[in-house]
Symmetry: T
Subunit: 157 residues, 12 copies
């Protein structure tokens, strides 16, 4: 099907913003799936605290996933958030299978948050001239993920 | 790590119920991802209605995913809901990339629901003697998915 | 019109479950209409208590009616809940016209609840092998109606 | 039982207002049953929209049913809303059994709304001198049903 | 102070509507005070039911009091709802001091409701040509009080 | 397009009621725009109180606008609430541009309310025989606007 | 009727506490009626602020009235809150009839609050040894009325 | 384990307050268990009213239980609310096993409330000089239980 | 008193189901009392987390207690949930008096949950043929307690 | 009146930002009026879906109108949102009078959204150096309108 | 400005109560600022639990600050809660700058709570004869702070 | 303790953003304390309006304080919001002790808002290249404070 959604962006700007959004989409979907995986498999004396905290991360991830995908659609770019696409292209660092000790979970979540934030920071720069509306969205997501990064990292001290 | 969670089920019953739950888990995660993909990419005169209806399917899928994964944990089986596991083992029929006409979306959702329900029906039988608690959960999920199957199918008439 | 809704049940199982659901549907619609009739026509020193309690029965009946009818649709059976069908096929014991003394109302509601529960108990048995999903719904309805039966009967002591 | 509820209306006024209310009662109960029947049996591409819209009609009908019946009681007239009375005396145009195409459903609902509104308009005139309080209730019900009539009819254009 | 609030009514119409509203005001304030008095002093096996029902009457009375007083202000007539004015001019039948048996309370409330409704019926007629806006308010209050009159009277059967 | 919405009113009654509704529609839209304009431009020691009070007027105006326009549609008359129509046909007295002192704002709102109420009073009379349902709506709007008229006028004393 | 409600207080303590409660009851009912009277009749540039503030006083008064009356009942003393009793025994300073300028209203409310607080202060002392439970209630009411006294008085500066 | 929670009270005051709180704790737990027992076993024409009223008593009892136990902890005294401790040390009058007629239930609840209030009255005196904070809590609990005592007793008249 | 509540179960089925419900009742009441006891007496670095988690267990226990007791009543069996009955017949493993370290509390709660689940599993089997409605309730309770068992046990890893 | 509101912006920046805001204000008011006009006049099989979707656009428009006007006030520029100003200066493409087919409505809304977004994009650039606070507001409005533009356009595919 | 707020207290009582309230005010403001400081700077494995718990302390402190300051105003004493006054006169033990380990935070909060409670206990005694209303407020604040003191201290065991 | 929280910013950018945030933190804490001080000490005919408006400023200030402090933490900078730091480093203009006339309060709040906005404007520029995420937060705070500045200033006209 030819593209049914037009865009107010120039083709070039649309390409830059579209790539930034598609990259963010798979990262955030995977972040949510990793957080759920950890939510179910964490064990240790901090179980309850980490278990609950992970669901807050899931909620944030899901909200951002929708905002990012619908922003892509809004500029005429079809978003792809299918399992296989996520498995193949996400820039997260992943999560081990099986039960995981709470300290290990905290460390892994910190690493995944750092990886996603680093990628987002680059996309904020990339979209500055291409599309300030897309950039504004990425800034707001980064603000929250950096806040969460601090909160998870604080538990390692 | 050796298994930190004990179960009141016999090892055999645990194995049967665990397999039924792990299979349901990946199916339901994928159903949710497919519904979101469709939610963003549907076009056509029925856009708004289908767009909204898909988010209800997402909400149900996510609720069921959590119930199934936590039931697995409750019987001492570590659930695996990571993107790669989902991409490789789900028994859904998938969803095409790119923008999709509303009629096509309805048909594809009906097929995916039918596939998941068929798998669940087999697991209801399999868990009857192994674990009535797990069976009861699968029955309640099937009840809702069959209701949704009717509602989506009714749009094809 | 030929049947637009397919079913995952075998034709035989569909027939058994469909009959159980259609029978329950008319019983529950009539139970709700009777409860409303009593709600408006009860008099006596217990008026307010019985008047309020009847509306709770109406609410439950209406919820069950919808669940039963939509379960029928989900297995591909068109439900029939029209006034004439209800008037002709319900297995309730009915309700007298005109103002009714509170004691009479309590007795009549106990009888109607008992009649509906008896019919439901038979349908629970009938659907056990035909469709455990339908059976589970009938069990949950029976659980609530038997609870209400106790509460209404307790007022006769 | 002799009439336990007295009225501030004259016997004649009571008779006129009582007849208007009893007639409205059965019409509105049947309108609600028809809307539910349609809610379960509609099929077609507009399924979801019509299915939801019908439940709004059910909700309104039930609210009006209660207001009308309790107004009858308030003027000392015992209301009769039993299934058989509804089946025999309602001035609605009815609804076919079995699955129904969405366009057919819309047309049938428009006809039933028109029939009920016509009857209500006559009762508004009839009660003007008999009881302005009853008239005021019938006006408010007519206002809403005419609004719904427009909304359903607009779909036929 | 000279009258600071002007009215869109003619002086005559203002006088008629103003008198109807001032009369209703004191009746409804007193009805609320009587209901509270009864709420605190009722005893007997129906204590709890009557106690709760009286508070609903208090709530309705207070809502109507405010509507009536503000309608008077809206047409430029200063409302007078002070204790002494109420004690001297209300057309209610009053309430005995001290503890009261539940049956006595029910009977007394029925009488007070009947007295207020009778006065309101006369005012509905009186305001018909003077001010349809005021009349509409009195009709809505009467509708509710007649409904309550039935509910309280039903307990005497 | 020929008229797709039929009416239960006679052509003549429809014309009278339609004119009353269209006139009310533009008046109420303009009242809402004026109230917003005043909400933003008021200055003076009473700023906060008047600023908040104006938003209540906006809320009421918007509610009435919708009720009036949908009543027009319900009787088969297409409502016209576009900016140009409002600018050309509203019977309000308008509002000066630029910052306005609070006392001036209060006076101007009182004048605009009075103008709209006067027009509504005439329409209540005009619709009495044409359509009691439309009349009832205009009465309820007038009741609220006269209440607001008192409240705004009281501030001038 | 002989006293149906027994008390855990000695007859003497019951008499002291009962008198304190009955006195507070009439004061607080009258305070609420006065506040409503002022709510309707206030005019002036502070109309809206004073109008709203008065309704908060009404709400508090009504809450306290109920607490005081039910405390009396709890110690076996029948409370008397009828209009005539209030008109004859309240220790408030009253309120003029007719429209009142906002400054006058503020001053009058300050005086009434002061009068009620003074009476309550004496009752706090009187009930200290008679009944600490009653005293605690009077303290909590005084705390709120003194807070309101400050807020109303602050407007006079 | 040596006491891990210090107290700002002197050892003697701590002992007095601690004893008052531990005694209140078991009384209130038992009051809640008795109310639930009665809630399930009451029969008679007042069933519904008494059944609902008992749940309000359960709710209050549970709230007070928590407040009392946490106050004990706050002053460094370990509270003991285990079943055996309750069964052995509560100063309530108990409740018969099996179904109970409504009149019997009312009488028994009145007796249990009276017993708990009497014990609380003594503890209010005992804690006056030991700890005014504990005393204040016991006063607030007594206030509510005496109110409930009146309400239950009123039903015996 | 002879049994005032009839049952739709055969005497034998009633006996089996009744015994299963009475046994579950005392276990669940004791589980709630133990959880509250632990809620107040836990100390250690995990205090807050365990303190909060215990209240969730209390809430669940109380909900289940009510469901089980009312199911007993619904089948005509008088439930017994008095303190002494609980102290003497519960199959829980109990809880030590005095302050308890958080690790000890977690271990004790895991043991108590395991004991109750084991007993429930046996009752699920026992009621399968006697009463599927009762069995369904026990399955739903077991599902939640096994989930909690996992969550508490996960903290021991 | 001389300007009573000072600004932290330089006069030049204030002029640029003020012009951008005044232009956005009239566009957004008109967008809201157009959406309401369409909401009332749409007909066709998609009536209900489009009717509801238009009210979401009205809600968004009204929120943005208030934000834009209050931002103008915040920088010391008096906003002008009167009907005549809107009718004369809005850069929207307008809306035909009379009943409109659903497809026509969708197309017209897409065109109006596109026109407003184009104007906003230019104002985002214009305010970048003049006032980043104003720019941020315009970015957030554009983000939402472009999202809506996609959703409306998707229905045309 | 001479004192615009009068008091029902004697000058001496006013002085004693005023001093107690001003002292409590600065202590509670500082407690809130310290809790926020700790909320942001805590690190360690208990980060999340302590971080959340501190915000509950902030909420309580802020509520108490307002109650205390408004009580001062109510007795005619101007409260002083400015930063400098707090910094110079609070009787808290302070909080170190920079990141803080969770164990250190818990210990410091326990010390600050103990310091504030000790000061409050003295003020409860001081105000007993001066003003029971003020005393009652200080008792309620102490009750909550002692409860929090236990909860924080329990984490040190 | 060495810094436990890492940052994705360069050391230089971190220093610039950290300084901007710490400066904003103390300004906003002080703004909140000043607003509360004014909330308690304002007198005059506008008391109620100003008293309420000040609490809205308190609420906003507190929200911004938390956002700013947590943003500092998120970039690895320990925030300092203690009373002494606030008293010594805030760039507000302060507030006089004792009761204050309403006009004086309005003027003082306008000055404090202006001072904080001026400082924020400088920090928006300073952080533009250092950290767009921090800048975005400061822009959103400035937007609201400039809005409040207008609203307070409007009262001076």
């Amino acid at each position: 099907m030819s593209n049914p959604i037009t865009s107010t962006l120039s083709p070039e700007a649309q390409k830059v913003a579209g790539a930034a959004l598609q990259g963010s989409l798979v990262d955030l979907i995977d972040l949510g799936l990793i957080a759920k995986q950890a939510h179910w498999n964490v064990v240790g004396s901090q179980f309850r605290s980490v278990h609950l905290q992970l669901d807050e991360l899931v909620t944030d991830s899901r909200t951002f996933v929708d905002e990012v995908a619908e922003r892509a659609a809004a500029i005429g770019v079809s978003p792809d958030g299918r399992a296989e696409t996520v498995a193949k292209t996400a820039s997260t660092v992943g999560f081990e299978g099986g039960w995981q000790q709470d300290g290990t979970v905290v460390a892994k979540i910190v690493q995944n948050l750092a990886a996603v934030v680093t990628a987002l920071r680059a996309r904020i720069e990339a979209t500055e001239s291409a599309d300030p509306v897309t950039q504004d969205l990425l800034i707001s997501i980064t603000a929250r993920l950096e806040q969460l990064h601090w909160m998870w990292q604080a538990q390692q001290a």
